[in-house]
Each structure stands twice: as structure tokens, then as C-alpha cells.
């Protein structure tokens, strides 16, 4: 469904991604794992158009995405839930969610999708008038994911959804990601919590120093000693 081929990305002089090749199949959870600085976030930013691709190609069902402006990529259903949540801290939960449905294609569905998000996260319904900056970390992450769902994504890309959450919230978050996936949304997951991510992923790719060095099913990678090496440099 989503195909990334030999993607090369730089920040000015800094090469963050040398050559990443992987694909995400319709209906699956694909995980992108690797140590800090391996290029995971960069990959997502390039797919959503925040960073220009210096080389390679990104396609969604055969149609090129690279080079399109970010609003157009959102309109095509590729939605990015950024690392660190990046909420609009001074706006209410409800307004944050409505912003998620800002894309022209999503606007007619704002009301219905808001209901869906509240079904998945009943907590957010209670807090819908609260200012987002005052929520707990877990609630903020729910808003971030809910905001992504408001766009009606075909592929939902989530960057470190478990980062900074209490252990019990981490479990809850991974359960919710699976639930979203079961409802028919394809998920591309970037996680530092490798063990957990690999456990729920259908397939996974290991990035190391800006390259995909290993791929396989989640279970295969979980068992692989190479994964540990990529992290700990043993």
C-alpha cells in the first residue's frame, strides 16, 4: 500500500537517512524500530512532506507522494501523529480534535468522527472542554491519536506513542493501536519500546544509522540477536 524506496533525506548538510526501503501492506501494523538517531522520525517526516526527499521515492498505491505539499498528503489519507504529541496546548480537547479534521476532505465528517473518537477514548469526552496543555501525558497522547483519526486516515503513522507514559498507560496505548488497526486502519508504528512494538506488529523493519538493516515478522525480529546488536552495539 505504502511503498518507500531508497529514501534519502538530509537536514541541510546532515544526512539523517541514507537509503531506506520498506513497504506497508494494507490492513497491517508495520513497525519501524531502531536506536536513537537511526532515522525513524526522519522517515515519517519525509513521508508526511515535512522534510523533502533528496532521493528515492514514496508511493501510496502506486501514486507518488514525495514532492506533494503536506496538506495534499493528509488529504490522500496519510496521517502523521508526531513524536511528543505536538498538541495545540492552549486549545480545548474538542478544538484539537476538530483541527485533526481540518483537511477539506475530512470536514464534512467532523461530527461523526468526533463521535467515533469519543467512543474509542471515552476519557476525552469527559475532558472535551478542558485545555489540552493541562491534560496528563496519557490523555495528551489520546488526543494526539484521536486528532490523527479525525482526518479519516488510510495509513496512520505514529511516532513514539508510548514515550514518557506510565507503564500501565503504555499497555493501554498498545491495546488501542491494535483496536484502531482492527477497525481497518493501516498503521506504521515507530517505537523505542521495541519489545512491545514487535509483539503487536505484523511486520517490522530495523533501521540503523539511516539504513534498513533487517526486516521480518515481529516475532522473527523479537527472537533475533541482531536486533539487540543494533541497539546496544555489542
Amino acid at each position: 500500500m505504502l511503498q518507500v524506496e531508497q529514501l534519502h533525506v538530509t537536514y541541510g548538510e546532515v544526512t539523517a537517512l541514507w537509503s531506506a526501503t520498506f513497504d506497508v501492506r494494507e490492513g497491517e501494523i508495520a513497525a519501524l524500530v531502531g536506536a536513537n538517531g537511526a532515522g525513524k522520525t526522519t522517515t515519517l517526516k519525509a513521508i508526511s512532506g515535512l522534510l523533502p526527499a533528496r532521493g528515492g521515492a514514496i508511493t501510496l498505491q502506486g501514486a507518488r507522494l514525495d514532492g506533494l505539499p503536506p496538506p495534499e498528503i493528509v488529504a490522500r489519507g496519510v496521517v502523521h501523529v508526531p513524536e511528543g504529541r505536538k498538541l495545540f496546548p492552549g486549545m480545548t480537547v474538542r478544538d484539537n480534535l476538530l483541527m485533526g479534521g481540518y483537511a477539506r476532505s475530512a470536514r464534512p465528517h467532523q461530527g461523526a468522527r468526533l463521535e467515533q473518537v469519543f467512543e474509542i477514548f471515552p476519557r476525552l469526552r469527559e475532558r472535551s472542554r478542558q485545555v489540552a496543555g493541562t491534560l496528563s501525558g496519557g490523555e495528551q497522547q489520546m488526543v494526539a491519536i484521536g486528532r490523527g483519526l479525525m482526518a479519516g486516515p488510510r495509513v496512520l503513522m505514529m511516532d513514539e506513542p508510548s514515550l514518557g507514559l506510565a507503564p500501565i498507560m503504555v499497555d493501554e496505548m498498545f491495546r488501542i493501536i491494535q483496536e484502531i488497526n482492527h477497525s481497518g486502519v493501516t498503521v506504521l508504528l515507530v517505537e523505542q519500546n521495541t519489545e512491545h512494538a514487535l509483539a503487536i506488529a505484523h511486520r517490522a523493519f530495523v533501521l540503523e544509522s539511516g539504513r534498513v538493516v533487517l526486516s521480518g515478522t515481529g516475532a522473527e525480529l523479537l527472537a533475533s540477536p541482531q536486533v539487540r546488536e543494533a541497539y546496544l552495539g555489542m
Binding site: V74, A75, P82, F88, M91, M99
Partner: protein, 287 residues
């Protein structure tokens, strides 16, 4: 006690207009990170708009709002497209100096066209003050207050309830996240600059019957406007409203209880104290 109430009331009336000007400056800063020094000149243009409307076409100043507000919106859009956008990437200080140049240019072209004379607008209904609850309130200021309240309310509703309004707030809180939501930040900036300018112009029209008008009046107004937005926290709309009211009341009380001469000074001292101890503003959420 009565003097106190009187001072607070007139402070609130003036403060509402300060707030309106401040909102214009603060939303532009929020979205584009520009401190637009020429904002005071936009107020000045509104004032002269009201003046010429009355002098040339016998147009009631408050009615002329319907003409000048949309025109100032357009002017803002043009200024943004032609003058401001090309230098946006140039760093905070360059944009500050650039808008200072624009401010000087506009004020002095006005000086050239209209001379430096102090002018006033007299209204047939301006002579007798209103007397609610035993207080004395100048009629033009009362009308200006009511209209400003209405316009600010309308703007608030626009920002709170519409997709575009939400997009403006979202962009000023986190531009990158707004892009991820599919917001066309360029368009938001254009609309915001137009809105900010329209607010300044409308405030000018409203202020015209209550103040002396002269081409360099913007200088005084912009300094007050800085006080207002810094008090409330640069980029925050509720902050600008609170800052405007606070400055209006502090000035008004200062004039009564300290000294009319140091009225402006009290505002600036407050400003410096806030910059030093709470640079994100009295009500800012922190930077």
C-alpha cells in the same frame, strides 16, 4: 469612591479599544512571529478614514466603519503579499527594523498629504455625556466601547467556532503540527495579517471622535500596544484583552491618584517590570 468608580469605568472603556488594537498585533505575531511596528499607523489610517469620511462625504464616523474595515482588511492582505512576505525568512530583528521603516514611511506620507495639524471630529451627539448610575461617560467613547465589544466578540467567535479561526489559533500554537493537520500556513498568514490590519483600522475609526488625530499618532499608540501585548503574553488573544483592560484601568487610576503627567509612565514601568519578571506575560502559559 465615586472618583474611583469613574476612573475604573473610563479605564475599561479606553482599555477595550487598546485591547482591540493589541489583538491585531498579537495574532499577527502568533502566526508569523513578526512584531509589526507599523501596526500603529494602521490605527492612524483608520482615524483619518473616519475624519475624511465625515469631512468630505458627511459620513457618520461610526457608520464609516462598514466601509473602512473591509478596506483595511484588503490593505493588510496587500501589505502582506507585496511587502512583508518577501522578508519573512530574514530573522526577527530584520523584520522588526523593516516594519519600523514601513511605519516611518506611512506616517510621513500621511504627514506630507495631511500636514501635522491636530484635528478633531465633532459629533452632534457628542456634546452631552451619558450619565449611567451617576457616572459621566462621553457618548462617542461609549459607542466606541459598545462597537469594540461587538467586534471583539465577533472575532472571538470566529477564532473559536470556525475551521479557519481554529487553524489560525493552531498555527500560532504549533505551526508544524498545524501543517500535519493539512493547514495551508501561507493562506492562514495572509488572512491573519488582513484581520490584524482590519482590527487596527476599525479601532482607529472608533477612536477618532475621542482623540486628537495627527499623522504621527501611531507612534504613541504602538508603544501602548506593545505594553498591552507584552502584559498579556505575545501571541495570546485573551492575554491582549486582559492586557488592554489592565493598561486602560492602570492609566486611568494613575491619572487620578498619582499624577496625570506620569500616567503614561506608569504603563511603561509596569511594562518593564513584566518584561523582567514574566517575559511570557502576566497570563502567559510560559515559553
Amino acid at each position: 469612591m465615586e472618583t474611583f468608580a469613574q476612573a475604573v469605568v473610563s479605564g475599561v472603556l479606553t482599555g477595550t479599544l487598546y485591547a482591540m488594537i493589541g489583538i491585531g498585533l498579537t495574532i499577527v505575531f502568533g502566526v508569523m512571529r513578526i512584531i509589526n511596528i507599523a501596526h500603529g499607523e494602521m490605527v492612524m489610517l483608520g482615524m483619518f478614514g473616519a475624519y475624511w469620511g465625515q469631512t468630505l462625504w458627511k459620513l457618520d464616523p461610526f457608520l464609516s466603519l462598514l466601509l473602512w474595515t473591509p478596506l483595511m482588511f484588503l490593505a493588510g492582505v496587500l501589505v502582506y503579499r507585496l511587502l512583508v512576505r518577501p522578508i519573512l525568512g530574514g530573522g526577527e530583528l530584520n523584520t522588526l527594523l523593516y516594519t519600523a521603516g514601513l511605519s516611518l514611511l506611512v506616517a510621513n506620507v500621511a504627514l506630507l498629504l495631511w500636514s501635522g495639524d491636530y484635528r478633531t471630529i465633532s459629533l452632534s451627539y457628542g456634546a452631552t455625556p451619558l450619565r449611567p448610575l451617576g457616572l459621566s461617560v462621553a457618548a462617542p467613547l461609549a459607542i466606541a466601547f459598545a462597537v469594540a465589544l461587538g467586534l471583539t466578540g465577533a472575532l472571538w467567535a470566529f477564532l473559536a467556532r470556525t475551521n479557519l479561526g481554529r487553524a489560525i489559533r493552531a498555527t500560532s500554537q504549533n505551526a508544524e503540527a498545524a501543517v500535519l493537520m493539512g493547514v495551508d500556513v501561507e493562506r492562514v498568514a495572509l488572512v491573519t495579517f488582513g484581520l490584524g490590519t482590519a482590527l487596527a483600522g476599525a479601532a482607529g475609526v472608533l477612536l477618532a471622535p475621542s482623540l486628537y488625530l495627527y499623522p504621527t499618532v501611531g507612534e504613541l499608540l504602538i508603544v501602548k500596544c506593545f505594553v498591552v501585548v507584552v502584559l498579556g503574553g505575545l501571541g495570546s488573544v485573551p492575554g491582549a484583552i486582559a492586557g488592554g483592560l489592565l493598561l486602560g484601568v492602570v492609566e486611568s487610576l494613575g491619572a487620578v491618584y498619582v499624577s496625570a503627567a506620569y500616567k503614561d509612565g506608569i504603563g511603561f514601568a509596569l511594562f518593564l517590570a513584566v518584561l523582567l519578571y514574566r517575559p511570557s506575560g502576566l497570563f502567559g502559559v510560559g515559553r
